[in-house]
C-alpha cells in the first residue's frame, strides 16, 4: 500500500509545527509504522535539532529532489525509535531551490518507502508552503488559541480547500487555567471560526522546551502532557478514529473538586 503524505502547516510561525511534526512522527513510528519526517523549511532547518539528529546530517531534501543523492542516503534513521527517519532541510539554500515538480517526483519515491510521510511546512503561504503541500494527501493545521493564529489558520485552511486537501486542526498550547478564567480562547471558540475536523487538543507544557533543547522526542517522556496528547493524535491518525478527544483540564484541589461536584463551579 502507498504511504500517506501529511503536511503540517499553520500560516503563522512559532505555533509548534516542528514540535508537532517531530512528536506525531515519533508517535506514529512507535505505533509500528515506517515514518519519514521531512523538514521543508529550507534555509531555516529546525526539525533535526528538535529530534537531536543534527550531527548526523550528510544529505538533505534539496539533494534528494535535485537527484544529487538517493533517498536512502538522505534519510537519517533515529536510533531511539525504530522506523523513524528524518530527511533534513538544507541550511544553505533558500526556498526557491525546490520546484513543485521536483517535490512531486520525490514524493512518489517516498510514498513507496514509507507508511507515513510528515512534511514540516515553513511559516507563511509562499513558495515554501506551496512546495510542501503540492503532493500532500492530508493536512494538519496547527493553531494556538490566539486571535492572530486563528486568523492565519483560517487563511491556510482556505488555501488547502482550494487545492482539495481537507485539513484537520490541532489546537496547541492550551492553558486550561486561562481558558477557565475566560482569558484565553477555548477550543470551542477556535473551532467555531475554523469549523473543520478537530485532530486533537494539546495543552501548554514546559516539557516541550526541555525536550526540544535536549533533542529528545516528546512522546517518549511519559510525564509530558503534550507528549501524551500527541500520542493520542497519532493513534487517531493511524486509524483509531473513535479515540475520544481529551480536553485539557487543570488539576484542581480537593475543595475545587468538591465544589464542582456540588455544582458551585462549572
Amino acid at each position: 500500500m502507498e504511504g500517506k503524505i501529511i503536511v503540517v502547516t499553520s500560516g503563522k510561525g512559532g505555533v509548534g509545527k516542528t514540535t508537532a511534526t517531530a512528536s506525531i512522527g515519533a508517535a506514529l513510528a512507535l505505533e509500528g509504522n515506517r515514518v519519514a519526517v521531512i523538514d521543508m523549511d529550507i534555509g531555516l532547518r529546525n526539525l533535526d535539532v528538535v529530534l537531536g539528529l543534527e550531527n548526523r546530517i550528510v544529505f538533505n531534501i534539496v539533494d534528494v529532489v535535485n537527484k544529487r543523492c538517493k533517498l536512502t542516503q538522505a534519510a537519517i534513521r533515529d536510533r531511539r525509535i525504530e522506523n523513524l527517519f528524518l530527511i533534513p532541510a538544507s541550511q544553505s539554500d533558500n526556498k526557491d531551490v525546490l520546484t513543485t515538480a521536483g517535490v512531486e517526483r520525490a514524493a512518489k519515491i517516498l510514498k513507496k518507502e514509507f507508511d507515513y510521510i510528515l512534511m514540516d511546512s515553513p511559516a507563511g503561504i509562499e513558495k515554501g508552503f506551496e512546495n510542501s503541500i503540492v503532493s500532500a494527501s492530508e493536512a494538519i493545521v496547527i493553531c494556538t488559541p490566539d486571535v492572530s493564529s486563528v486568523r492565519d489558520a483560517d487563511r491556510v485552511i482556505g488555501l488547502l480547500y482550494a487545492r482539495s486537501i481537507t485539513p484537520k486542526i490541532i489546537v496547541n498550547r492550551i492553558v486550561p487555567q486561562m481558558v477557565a478564567k475566560g482569558d484565553m480562547l477555548s477550543h470551542e471558540d477556535v473551532m467555531e471560526v475554523l469549523s473543520v475536523e478537530l485532530a486533537g487538543l494539546v495543552p501548554m507544557d514546559e516539557q516541550v522546551v526541555i525536550a526540544t533543547n535536549m533533542g529528545m522526542p516528546l512522546v517518549m517522556q511519559n510525564n509530558s502532557k503534550a507528549g501524551q496528547a500527541f500520542r493520542r493524535i497519532a493513534k487517531r491518525l493511524n486509524g483509531e478514529t473513535d479515540l475520544p478527544i481529551q480536553v485539557p483540564t487543570h488539576k484542581t484541589g480537593m475543595w475545587n473538586k468538591l465544589s464542582q461536584k456540588l455544582g458551585f463551579k462549572k
Binding site: V147, R151, D152, D154, R155, G158, Y161, V193, S195
Partner: protein, 228 residues
C-alpha cells in the same frame, strides 16, 4: 460649474405642422420675441400650419397658450393652434394590480447567493446583491454594488453599495463586522458582546447606523413587493 442653457422656445416639425415647446418660466414678451425670431425664418411655411403649443409638465399656462396662439394667428397666419394631447395616465390601482401579479416575473434581479463559510483572505465581489448562507470569518472581504445579506455570523469586512450607492444595507443574523462601508461612508466595527440578534446597517444623515432588524423593520413600510 456649468449651467446648462435651455432655449426658452424650441421648434420642431411634426407631420403637417409644428411643435413649439415653450418655457413657461420665461416672460410672455420674451417668448413672443423668440417665437417671432424662429417663425420669421419659416417664411410662407407658417401659413395655415397646424401648431401645437407645449409647455411641458407646467400647469396653469392656459392664458399664456391662448395669448401666444392669437399672437401667432395674427402675425403669421397660422392655422389651428392646439395643445398636446393629455398623456394617458394609467390608474394607480391598475399599476398596483400589475405589480402584485407579475412584477417580478419581468425582472431578473442579480443576486449572488453562496452557502458555506467565507474564510480569511477570501474576497467576494459582485455587481449587485450578495446573499451568504453561512458565516463570514474575520479577514474575509465582501464587496457588492447593492445589498449584502449574511444568514449567519458576519465578522469580516463588508462594503455594500460599492462605489456610491448610499441606499444599500448590510444585514446579518449576528452582526459584528470588523469594518463596514456603505457607499463612501466607512465605519469601524464595534466589539460588543451582545447577543446574536439580526441587525442591519444603513446610512442615516451621512453616518452608518446599526439597528435591530426586527424592531426597526426598514422595509416594513413598503406595501407591496418590489424588485431591487
Amino acid at each position: 460649474m456649468t449651467i446648462e442653457m435651455q432655449p426658452p422656445v424650441k421648434l420642431k416639425g411634426v407631420g403637417d405642422g409644428f411643435w413649439v415647446t415653450l418655457d413657461p418660466s420665461v416672460s410672455e414678451d420674451k417668448l413672443k420675441e423668440e417665437v417671432t425670431r424662429l417663425f420669421e425664418r419659416l417664411k410662407h411655411l407658417t401659413i395655415n400650419a397646424r401648431i401645437t403649443l407645449d409647455t411641458g409638465d407646467a400647469r396653469g399656462c392656459e392664458n399664456l397658450i391662448a395669448n401666444i396662439g392669437t399672437f401667432l394667428k395674427n402675425t403669421f397666419d397660422v392655422g389651428v393652434v392646439t395643445t398636446p394631447p393629455a398623456k394617458r395616465s394609467v390608474p394607480l390601482e391598475r399599476i398596483r394590480q400589475r405589480d402584485l401579479s407579475k412584477g417580478w416575473t419581468q425582472h431578473r434581479s442579480e443576486v449572488l447567493m453562496l452557502r458555506g463559510r467565507v474564510r480569511s483572505g477570501q474576497r467576494i465581489k459582485a455587481k449587485k446583491h450578495i446573499v451568504i448562507i453561512g458565516n463570514v470569518n474575520p479577514g474575509a472581504e465582501i464587496s457588492a454594488g447593492g445589498n449584502i445579506i449574511v444568514m449567519g455570523r458576519l465578522m469580516g469586512q463588508v462594503h455594500a453599495g460599492d462605489p456610491d450607492n448610499e441606499e444599500a444595507v448590510v444585514l446579518a443574523l449576528d452582526f459584528r463586522p470588523t469594518q463596514i462601508q456603505i457607499g463612501g461612508v466607512v465605519a469601524a466595527g464595534i466589539d460588543e458582546n451582545s447577543d446574536a440578534v439580526a441587525e442591519f446597517a444603513s446610512i442615516d444623515k451621512g453616518r452608518i447606523i446599526v439597528q435591530d432588524y426586527l424592531k426597526a423593520e426598514p422595509f416594513g413600510n413598503i406595501p407591496w413587493p418590489e424588485v431591487i
